[in-house]
Amino acid sequence: MTQTDIEKGAAAASPYVPKMARIVAADQMTETERFFRLEMEGEPLAYEPGQFVGVTVFGVGESPISICSSPTQGERIELTIRSVGLVTGALRTFEAGDRLGIRGPFGNGFDTGAMKGQDVLFVAGGLGLAPTRSLIRYVLDKREDFGKVTILAGAREPNLLLFREEIAEWVERSDADTLVTVNQPDKDWKGNVGVITRLFKQVEIDPARTCAVIVGPPVMFKFAVLEALAAGVPEHRIICSLERHMKCGVGKCGHCQIRGVYVCRDGPVFTYEQVKRLREGI
């Protein structure tokens, strides 16, 4: 490395400084998940479906959060945040009008170009629906660019199901097949019951032209991948988004590293072919 490279680096803005954003809408979706719509105070965020941001609560810290909206929806970004940690716990009390810090977007996002013209099968469990929704919205907004669209969504219980109203709209659409299941129904639940892989029986997959986007807890991911493989979908067209501990978002801090790969920079979206080779991926 030369001296001038170093000077250039020093002059560049620090990648660790958050930009300010204002919450324009906040909604408690479930007991633990909170939805936010944000507006950047400076330049809007240019992002791809599947990317994530670092959300700062000043004085508390930062947490990596998937963007759950699609750039086709406009300049605002939407986040679904599960309150499990220091920062996400603090966000429980944040309302419209409050301000947050945002870094990013980080990561590669879904390769929408490669999916063009293909059938897209979404399999999303639990909080996995958040990053998946980003792509679902994108695909539905650019519907003519894609083949058959199938959406399988699952949750442990009905009251843990995210985006219920929106899913209901997807179910109504004639240009997409949407199926929903819960593991443990309550007395009002009228839909499918059982783990999400049970829904595979109800859908037809043309393995020659299907991209399977599978995002959810590790156990769900494992079995949904087996179903997709059994249906003949090749490993390089099974696509997932990984969750890891992250501190920097720019491939330095090492927390998200899986073997030689930094999830924050090289992911979080990977094909199953890649994940399988990583061994420590799932």
């Binding site: 000043f58 491939g251 030689g260």
Partner: protein, 349 residues
Amino acid sequence: MLPQVLKTSDLGAWVEALMAESRVAAPVLKETNVSDPTDLKFGWQYVPDPADVRLDYTVTVLGPKKFLWPPRQKLVRYNLGAGAEPEAIIDHEPHVLLGVHPCDITAIATLDAAFAKDVPDPHYLARRSDTAIIGLDCGAPCDESSFCLDMGSLYPESGFDVMLTPLGDAYFVEVATQLGEALVEAAVVRPATKQDMEAHQAFAEEKRSDFHYKLPYELKYLPEILDASYDSLVWEAIARQCFSCGSCNIACPTCYCFDVYDEVEVDLSKGCRVRRYDSCQLDPFAEVAGGENFRQERASRLRHRMFRKGKYILEQTGRVGCVGCGRCERACVAGISIKDTYVQIAGSR
């Protein structure tokens, strides 16, 4: 500038001249073993007095990395309350690192590459660009733990501004950069003569015979050997002795993983974002907020470190992550040795 010669007796005056311009960090004597007066413990410090500089040092617990990349570094400051107005803290001032051994010169070049890659890290790079490095060649291995010859760090071709080679009562002074030239101008030196050149050559030749290879294979095969060892029982066996205490990472001159957290002043008016050294050997390193830990097993963390040093950092930066300095082995209470591990995996399946 052609090679120069600095009399050992003029070193103090040079250090004093350098100290007039900027801070100078160098190895100093930290403590002496009461039962063995020859067992000296050295450490890197900003020197208050030129007489404290000990260029006869062997090993230090921490390398000079801490001056380029402080163990705890503030990245961003902000207000609490209405307007956060976050801004970067780029904290740097000129300083000279005096007496950096070849292994640490090599390690610094690796850190340079890692922090400049992809998204550059100005918090590191600003300090780096304000750092002058005066190297000090080694005539003999530090101890049994070091294997710098194997790891290709014994003969750095760049990464220093000046290189000193001890020749009895004088130092052979090679100047590698313009900055180095400015540094040497502050010293009382004379141009090297033919005899000095020959003495320098003799030092290099003697050095070559004093260092011995310790790995049974060439460095270029290490990534492959690591890959083949991924499922070996070796990791589990070594991990039984491992405390996961993180000492190896803290002592390592190329480890650069960090934790980031926020600190708040007691009057709740201001906060800052801080990073500090982290260790992939610690239990929570790969744990996500929901509680899932992707390297829960001690053995998988230990393997990760060995792979990172021998393979992953190489893939990231083009430079191997281990410089063979032996610090991790010396720092390990359980005596886990990266060198022995690399030997062991070559013969295991």
